[in-house]
Amino acid sequence: MTNDDSPLGGAAGGEILRVEGLRKEFPGVVALDGVDFDLRAGEVHVLLGENGAGKSTLIKMLSGAYRPDAGRIVVDGAPVEIRGAGDAQRLGIATIYQEFNLVPELSVGENLALGRPPRRFGLVDTKKMHERARELLARVGVDVDPRTPVGRLGIARMQMVEIAKALALNARVLIMDEPTAVLTTSEVERLFAIVRQLRDQGVAIVFITHHLEEIPQVGDRVTVLRDGRSVTQVPASTPENELVRLMVGRPIDQQYPREPAAPGEPLLRVRGLGRRGAFEDVSFEVRAGEVVGLAGLVGAGRTEVARAIFGADPHDTGEVLVNGRPLPRGDVHAAMEAGLGLVPEDRKGQGLVLGADIAENLGLVTLRRASRGGFVDRAGQRRAAADVAGRLGVRMSGLGQEVRTLSGGNQQKIVIGKWLLADASVLILDEPTRGIDVGAKVEIYQLINSLTASGHAVLMISSDLPEILGMSDRVLVMARGRLAGELAAREATQDSVMALAVSEVEDARVH
Amino acid sequence: GSGGSDGSSAGGSGASGGDIKIGMSVSTLNNPYFVQLRKGAEEEAKKEGVALTVTDAQNDASQQVNQIQNFAGQNMKAIVINPVDSDAAGPAVKAAERSKIPVIAADRGVNGGTVAQTVASDNVEGGRLAAQELAKEMGEKGKVVVLQGVPGTSAARDRGQGFTEGIKAFPNIQVIAQQPADFDRTKGLDVMTNLLQSNPGITGVFAQNDEMALGAVKALGAKAGKEVKVIGFDGTPDGLKAVQDGTLSATVAQQPALLGQQAVQGAVKAAKGEKVEATVAVPVKIVNKDNVAEFAGS
């Protein structure tokens, strides 16, 4: 279970890695414009910065995914060139990327050993591979069979597999790009326990997060990036609002600016919704002007319920009514016509056309409405896209930039933005602020406020409990595919929500 | 060995000295028969000292039209066309007509356009001869299967038609199956193998070209030439060799090299503005054990 075969054996404090004046330019964008950064053994070094500040680009140069245009990387006092994943592995650098790098068709075990499977007589030793996988999975506390194809896992479990995969390398530098973005509180705690344990063994850890409250919990030092430059370095104990000021350049007085509106007619009614093996007997309603939060642990079935409501997947029992009219089963188009919208949790797989540009992606949902006699009003669409991109502060070289090349947080803004254009009367948001910086989050919350103020309704799924508590008028909690309870905004606290979320899990869990 | 050893260049142009340029579009070169035809044509061109350009239409009528158009654009003095399809060659020939370039049709005629000369052996007649020869070999009784060429090609059509007509004269001979093997030796082998399963009593095979016939011979093994008589078509070197060996009972020799030679002769004459005969018939001949020696040398 422990990492005692780690190659470095606990020498804490010495500098392992340093970068000086790192610069990286992409067509149309200077992503990094002189970054200095150093990393010591046995520390957790947090990288902080707005969406598009250059955090991921920086770590991709440490992992060999990109090559710097200028500047140098020094490891153990000697300048190095990291040309590819192989070089990084030799230097003892392991990376968990912001976007998953798993092979969906292959099993969990195989993914954990990707690129270096155990071999016997020159052949892959599947048995040993799965044994090792089982150990690793136990270490991160994920209960899946190593033979399960990764493609069948939920997004949070995938993240845990990514973490296990990086642990398997026994690296002395571990880079984690927003590992907590899709995790719920309990997984985050488990992850932090692992991180602290590694740190105590002398592993140097680079940690990126947009959850500022995590920084004092796990970090030692913080380097702040702004516009591709490293602006300052502060201890992790720096107060949150000071960090915000350093990062965004201005203070944010209210993190959750929810302005409740008077609830009106129920717009969305879900009655006894169920699908065999996934969820059952889910009933609730969402009224005009309301934000209803949907909380739960990973795998509780929130995403599946949301998709069933929207018609993205069929359901076996129950019905969904929008404005009093029942929706046909499994028909996205009809759901949209009735006024539903869904921001999916998996931006790459379900939210974006990565190869298309920003304008195209933003216009996708409203494409039908912007068409007259089969022809699309592209100029009008472009204007609307420019407007939304401006409101969300998307950092881009222009509306023609390919979405693939946007930073993770900016991609998420596009996914949300296209639904803001759609003017849905009930908007379902599945992990809407995943990977979004504090400044932009407030922007999105304000947009939610203006939606509800104008009589729309929002159903918000989030694994970020403070967000659920801060923005919801009512909180629904799911556990094991059932609605475990409902809390009014006043009575909802971290503890009361968690108590409900684990309620049925406790009963059912035997091991 | 049959190929490779003849040493003629694969290149299209013959002697470069002549100022007469002749274009020739061959229906396909994926078939030894037409390779022979080209060889005869090239040898004749060399002898006459004219520049001959040969293109391969790959059994595609519209590619052939393209090639003829291209020839017209190149100021060829005469064009030899070996039509992929007689009907579809019409527009091609018309295009040449407009440019006042004489056209010689080789091996197949042209419908719907005027050619200066047609040099051909008759596929329908060949089919008839094959039927007679097969009947003779089989003692005018027994069961026959036909291996058909690529469905829809004129060669498959004409040979099939001739054979069907010819075999009617023998009431005791029954055609029990007709299956396509696409002029291909491998397919000939596979289809024949399969037909032997469902029709064990076969005593005769008509293959619409030598390639399929050789495949059938392979499938028949020791039976070929003994219990089962196989007749091919074309008289390719491999086919003639099989006739010599006795595995192939006969083939309908078309003398493709002679055909090519005659066509180029006609083209040169036409190019010089001399008068040419409207048709030149290159004899189709049954080649069997008795006369194979005359052909094998060529």
């Binding site: 067509p27 149309g28 964008v29 707005e50 516009d227 996205v332 188009h333 949209m336 869904l342 797989g349 379900q350 939210g351 056309v353 190869g355 195209e360 216009g363 996708l364 949902v365 494409l367 039908r368 068409s371 089969g374 699309v376 991109a389 401006g390 502060g393 950092r395 070289s397 222009g398 023609g400 | 694969a10 299209g12 070169l29 350009t53 040969v54 293109t55 391969d56 595609d60 009528a61 519209s62 039209v65 393209n66 090639q67 158009q69 291209n70 020839f71 017209a72 654009g73 190149q74 100021n75 399809d85 009907d87 579809a88 019409g90 527009p91 719907g112 690529v150 469905p151 829809g152 059509r157």
Partner: protein, 329 residues
Amino acid sequence: MHVSTDVLNGTAKAARRRHPAAAWLAENGALVALVVLVVGLSLLSGDFLTVTNLLNVGVQAAVTAILAFGVTFVIITGGIDLSVGSVAALSAIVLAWLSTDSGLPWPLAVLVALAVGLVCGLANAALIAYGKLPPFIATLAMLGIARGLALVISQGSPIALPDAVTHLGDTIGDYLPIPVLVMIAMGLITALILGRTYSGRAIYAIGGNEEAARLSGIKVDRQKLITYGLSGLFAAIAGIVLASRLASAQPQAASGYELDAIAAVVIGGASLSGGKGRAFGTFVGALILAVLRNGLNLLSVSAFWQQVVIGVVIALAVLSDTLRRRATT
């Protein structure tokens, strides 16, 4: 597409402006290859750069180009259509058969022929969208079925076309071959559909990420019907043009053209994994193939070597494009 706008938020860096011509070239890489090819052939053969010959090239490109325009829709959705050659042949046979054997007036026969192409395409789409068949398998099956039906209807023999239809293969005046006009018209229609219509934009989204398209309210199945339907319809048009050039419908016509059509689309910059592709690129791709064949004929390259040379030039053409693109980024 790289028009910079003034919506950059405050923190964004000014885009390093690329010269518009360079950007345009990067998007139309195949065009460079075509120009090189044309210049090279002009130098090598005096017959190449004449009006007549260039018109010939246009006529010779027409059928492949029309097929390829249809296939462009399919490839942008991430699919493939192997059946277009066979469907072209079937449509032409139906046209010839109806207007000769059944004595249907030829305009009606033309309509039926177009309908046949459309139906073949819709059948492909139904198998793919509702039967969940891989497009490769569905259209491979259709390749056999349509070719077989063409043979069955024609009994394996070519059927002469009515004279009226034959004129579709003619040249108006000295310099306006109808096949070229049809090709250009189909190209413009393709560009219009892809660039301006709802279906066109939806097709790109489906090819880029089918799930995202579906969750954005696009009826993916219906758009696939339209896509493959268009491909079938274009194939029928190509078949009629082809038959009119030959004055007869051939059951074996256009066999193997599917690979040429797909090659034209891919040379033109589309990706077989979907989401990319343009009418102009496809047009250039089809021209490259036609110029190449024409040039090799003019240069009297031996038949056996022609296949080798065509293979090498296609590889080089696309190679130069990808390498140049890598160099500029």
